[in-house]
């Protein structure tokens, strides 16, 4: 490792010659079969069982596959499993493993790989301490291979909500080097990672879905922020760029880029810490809900491209979403003032809002909220902190009064609502309602879909009735895609599915 210091010295002296080893990013050009995707979050984690950051997930979605896989409509389809048999009490899941699937390293997928991967995700390997890496798979008690290429997963108790978590990536038996050298079964193979610059994936020639993928190479190029990405788009050095705002998308040449938009299935929340004064008072929380104009927040932060929310779930969740709650907290300044007076705060109060400074959308939301809350006499002071401090102080240690954040999307309704259980580690708003705890404990034991949906609706209703926080919006994902490509599908989650994309023009 002696040469690293030396390389600095040499580089300082003869930078131009030395710069040669600093990796390559290819421009998209004529007659190539490649695509470049702009990303704004620096990737870092490539292990399918520790990955949770959206910025990593959108890349490795192309590298790893689970037993089941979501499509762009949000439907759960069999993938590395061809089907599943769930026992009546939902405590045993038996998967049939697909045949003829090859890993990127050339080995064949078999039951042993699946057993190893699921055990690793659930923390059941011998060298693990029993805590699950993928927290949602913690209920797994045992995984074993059974006859006929099947894998039997036994749970601690019946749970009908678990199938959606079997999307977790399958890796070769005994493989433990996914962070440095990812190996999966997905349509693309991991080629290289240049920190701060790019991640390069290449075509998996042996992909089990014949004919896919179309592209030879996909480059995920890191852009400093949305505006940097926009400049690169305009210069033609990237083909696909997600997470734009309307007015930025409008600056692009319509002949060169198609603009796609879709709900992001995220929930932007003005989080109120339910255990601090005066936010522990229901009337105060309701008053704040009535004081806010969701429409103006969306207009200021997303140029109107967002769906107003009054409950903890995005309408993208389909039937689980409770439409009857729409419009619950339409802006009503007088009502807000009355509620504040009833709570004993007729003269308002002072409060701070701790926002993560690196997320402009949340900072801007806080500015708009502060201006709106002033109308009912609440003085909100904005305190920006950097992301690391936010995670430490606000999310983990819950030392804050209010904050603005977006809760990451998930197709699984249970995942969305899990954090409102009083014991959940994600319950950073310190919400506590015994009724909700009880319902959440009951849901996994229900097999009847209709009854389950009804219970979810009850939870949502309770959350809204308790005004546990202010639900603001589901921001729309706007993606610019070069007209030389087709087949790109926008997912209502942080995923870039490149398997269907093909080059049609230049």
């Amino acid at each position: 490792m002696k040469n690293s210091i030396k390389s600095i010295v040499i580089a300082s002296a003869v930078a131009l010659t030395l710069s040669g080893f600093a990796g390559c990013t290819k421009k998209p050009g004529a007659a190539n079969n490649n695509a470049v995707v702009g990303i704004t979050q620096e990737p870092g984690i490539f292990d399918p069982h520790t990955v949770v950051a959206a910025g990593d997930e959108e890349i490795i979605f192309n590298v790893y596959e689970g037993l089941y896989k979501y499509d762009s409509k949000g439907d759960l389809n069999p993938c590395l499993a061809t089907d599943v048999a769930i026992s009546d009490d939902a405590s045993v899941y038996t998967f049939t493993i697909r045949e003829g699937v090859k890993f990127h390293d050339g080995s064949d997928l078999d039951a042993a790989d699946v057993v190893y991967s699921l055990k690793r995700a659930a923390g059941l390997l011998e060298n693990q301490d029993g805590t699950a890496l993928v927290q949602e798979l913690d209920p797994i008690k045992d995984v074993k291979a059974v006859d006929g290429g099947k894998v039997e997963v036994t749970l601690e108790s019946g749970n009908t909500e678990l199938l959606s978590y079997f999307t977790t990536g399958i890796i070769p038996d005994g493989y433990d080097n996914c962070q440095a050298a990812p190996v999966g079964t997905g349509p693309f193979k991991f080629e290289s990672y240049n920190p701060g610059q790019s991640v390069i994936l290449v075509k998996n020639e042996n992909y089990w879905q014949k004919g896919l993928p179309y592209l030879d190479k996909v480059t995920f190029k890191v852009c400093a922020d949305m505006d940097a990405g926009l400049t690169e788009l305009a210069a033609g050095s990237i083909d696909i760029f997600p997470y734009l705002t309307t007015d930025r998308a409008n600056q692009l040449d319509k002949a060169k880029y198609n603009i796609l938009s879709n709900g992001s299935n995220m929930v932007q929340i003005f989080a109120l810490n339910n255990s601090v004064e005066p936010l522990n008072n229901l009337k105060v929380r309701q008053a704040i809900n009535y004081a806010v104009s969701r429409k103006d927040v969306i207009s200021v932060t997303m140029d109107g491209a967002g769906v107003e929310l009054t409950t903890a779930m995005s309408p993208a969740m389909g039937s689980y979403y409770d439409k009857s709650l729409d419009g619950t907290f339409a802006q009503d300044i007088e009502k807000a003032k009355t509620l504040l007076a009833e709570a004993g705060y007729e003269n308002g109060f002072n409060i701070t809002c701790t926002v993560p400074s690196s997320y402009l959308i949340h900072v801007n939301t806080a500015v708009e909220l502060a201006s709106e809350l002033k109308a009912v006499g609440i003085n909100m002071e904005i305190k920006q902190v950097d992301w690391a401090t936010w995670l430490d102080k606000v999310y983990t240690n819950r030392q804050y009064e209010t904050t603005v954040i977006a809760l990451t999307s998930s197709y699984a309704p249970y995942d969305v609502l899990d954090r409102y259980q009083s014991t959940s580690s994600g319950n950073f708003i310190n919400y506590k309602n015994d009724k909700v705890d009880e319902l959440m404990a009951k849901i996994p034991t229900i097999t009847d879909t209709k009854e389950k949906t009804e219970l979810y609706h009850q939870v949502l209703k309770l959350l809204t009735d308790d005004a546990c926080s202010v639900y603001l919006q589901d921001p729309t994902t706007i993606t610019a895609v070069s007209t030389r490509l087709e087949g790109y599908n926008v997912y209502p989650m942080y995923v870039q599915d490149m398997s269907q994309v093909k080059v049609t023009g230049n």
Binding site: A11, L391, I405
Partner: protein
């Protein structure tokens, strides 16, 4: 000779102590500010188990003091360690970012010299003339325009007037050298502007001062041409002050011009530094700070020596 050797040794010790002090400061800062690398990398949705696994993989479960000493030991054996967030050797990471920072400094430096020298020589020929005054006024104004403002105004100009210059879109020099130089032109110019003004001002007054000095007058009476006097006597003497200025300018730019990199979306050292801070990446941050300290001290050191070479009157003390 002994004096010289002693001088070098003294400077070397100074360098080492500075580096040690800086790394201690960084270490102290890290023990104070809140935040956890593993949590930042994994995000809020990660479970405690995932965070803990990553912490132990990265060696974050060891106390900071232990990590500091293992880092220090690594430096002594020429190994700056592995970045937590990028999982890569810190030396390589820094070297990767250098083409931007060094390229920008080099181009800016060339611009400073190419523009400020001729202007200063011309201006100083006839001080007080219209040309001189126009140059001086422009110089004053440029001096007061911060690089950040200049960057924004240049982007505004470039995007509305000429579509020739591409803003952003950094290309590797290995891939397209002219493209690489091209994409660094505008940001370098933004950095160079106030420095051009600064260098112009110092050179001009230095040349005027030298002109008035006795030895130049003597040479003149001996019939030497103006040009010869300028090249042989005036400029070398002015160089002493310009070397100092240039070293200041260089250490300014080499430190990574964060704001300009941010505005032009260039993957330089400044952004790497910011990312190291915001991700609480102790080895990376220490590495960068170490490198910056090294460059700064080295530049002052070199400028002292160069000044001594160009001007025999200054002895190495």
């Amino acid at each position: 000779m002994q004096g010289k050797a002693g001088y070098f040794v003294g400077k070397l010790i100074e360098l080492l102590v500075t580096l040690l002090l800086v790394s201690l400061l960084v270490f102290a800062a890290f023990s104070i500010i809140p935040g956890d690398t593993a949590r930042v990398m994994l995000g809020p949705e990660a479970s405690e188990a995932q965070v803990n696994l990553l912490r132990s993989q990265l060696g974050l479960d060891k106390p900071l003091v232990a990590r500091y000493f293992s880092w220090l030991f690594g430096i002594l054996t020429f190994n700056p360690g592995t970045s937590y967030a990028y999982n890569m050797n810190v030396g390589e990471l820094i070297a990767q970012r250098l083409p931007v920072t060094v390229g920008m400094s080099a181009i800016a430096m060339v611009m400073v010299i190419l523009i400020s020298y001729p202007l200063a020589v011309l201006s100083a020929r006839k001080p007080g003339r219209l040309g001189d005054q126009v140059c001086s006024v422009i110089g004053h104004v440029l001096f007061a325009i911060p690089p950040y403002v200049a960057s924004l105004l240049l982007i505004l100009l470039a995007s509305s007037l000429f579509s020739l210059v591409t803003v952003g879109n950094y290309v590797m020099p290995s891939e397209d050298f002219f493209g690489y130089v091209g994409c660094l032109l505008l940001p370098s110019f933004a950095i160079a502007l106030p420095k051009i003004a600064m260098s112009f001002k110092f050179l001009r007054s230095s040349i005027i001062e030298q002109r008035a000095s006795d030895y130049v007058r003597t040479s003149k009476s001996h019939g030497l041409s103006d040009l010869k006097i300028l090249v042989r006597h005036v400029l070398p003497n002015s160089n002493v002050s310009s070397i100092t200025i240039i070293s200041i300018i260089l250490s300014d730019i080499l430190g990574g011009s964060l704001i300009v990199e941010q505005v032009f979306n260039l993957p330089g050292l400044g952004r790497l530094l910011l990312s190291a801070i915001s991700r609480r990446d102790f080895p990376l941050l220490s590495g960068i700070v170490f490198y910056l300290a090294f460059i700064t001290v080295l530049l002052y050191f070199l400028s002292d020596i160069l000044a001594a070479i160009t001007d025999p009157r200054i002895r190495l003390k």
